[in-house]
Amino acid sequence: MKADADWQAIAREELRFFGNVSAAISHEINNRIAVINEKAGLLTDLSVMMAQGREIDVTRFEVQSRKIVEQVQLAKQTVRNLNRFAHSVDVMRTRIEAAEVLELVVALYARKAAAAEAVLSISESCEPVTITSSPFFLETLIGRAIDVALSRVDDARTVIIGVEATREGITVQFRGLTGLTEPIEFPEESQGVPALLECLGARYRSEPDGTALLLEIPDHERMSHGRTA
């Protein structure tokens, strides 16, 4: 049975991750609102100038209106992702399509990657694998792995993320790194990661050449079957 201190560390880590992602998403939504605000202001300015008798190319209204719609679509997608993320705490354990979780976390981290002048790319050879685990814990471990990967991304500035089935569960790979060594070091604010890893029976390791971070996660369904067999 886990000690109270471990559960507290996990709870702190989960709250911190939820807060980190929520802050980044709120920033992204605010950026869309700020752009829409300027575009709407520009349309108003053009309308006023037209009413004053200035000659305005009417296609400008169409172009700016289309750009507002594009911003609304971007914001809608961001809100959809936030909603999926928020609902991932609804169930403690379920059958998960690993590629779907990867896509969600990559979308949530896109702006953070851009700030680090890097790109997150899901490998085309990503296998369709499912696993029984905790969706939110899984998102946290993938997110924290991306944090590490962004701090170690090589000159190509692209982290290639893939997933493959293993005998015990899945391995999520983060390639395109340089100089990664074990033990994997996490930022000071992510000190609950070891307790979380222990809770899921997961572990991080690096490729011997330091170019990839691997996150190995056991399938809890297979683990429980293994115990009863």
């Binding site: 709120s26 920033h27 609102i33 700020a34 829409i36 605000n37 520009l42 750009k67 700030a115």
Partner: protein
């Protein structure tokens, strides 16, 4: 008044620059710190409006670099949320500090205030 606008959201800075030009303010724009530095080396600006959070060079870092090219230039920082963290970073560095989405009339008033200081 000549203004340099720097924000990594191109759709925001281009619209803002045009709206300022409608109000008689000459505004150049860039979407990165490096572009902004190049503009500042070849033009003189009264005020720079800098987004705090930008990839590579942040608004705070950019201000320090721009000060070497034009010591008389004044600065206004833009931030997404006006969070405590942003405020601590910005208040010590900027002449003024505005939260997005912007009120253009407030921006113009603020630019006039900092230029007159």
């Amino acid at each position: 008044m000549r203004v340099l606008l720097v924000d990594d959201e191109e759709e925001l800075v281009t619209a803002l620059a045009e709206r300022l030009s409608f109000r008689g303010i000459d505004a150049d724009w860039s979407t990165s710190g490096n572009e902004a530095l190049n503009l500042a080396r070849t033009h003189t600006y009264d005020v720079a409006v800098l987004d705090v959070k930008m990839p590579n060079i942040s608004g705070i870092e950019l201000k320090k670099m721009l000060e070497k090219t034009g010591p008389d230039m004044k600065y206004i920082f833009l931030t997404g949320h006006g969070s405590e963290e942003d405020f601590r970073a910005g208040s010590a560095e900027a002449s003024q500090y505005l939260v997005k989405p912007l009120d253009i009339e407030l921006l113009i008033e603020t630019m006039r205030q900092v230029v007159q200081k």
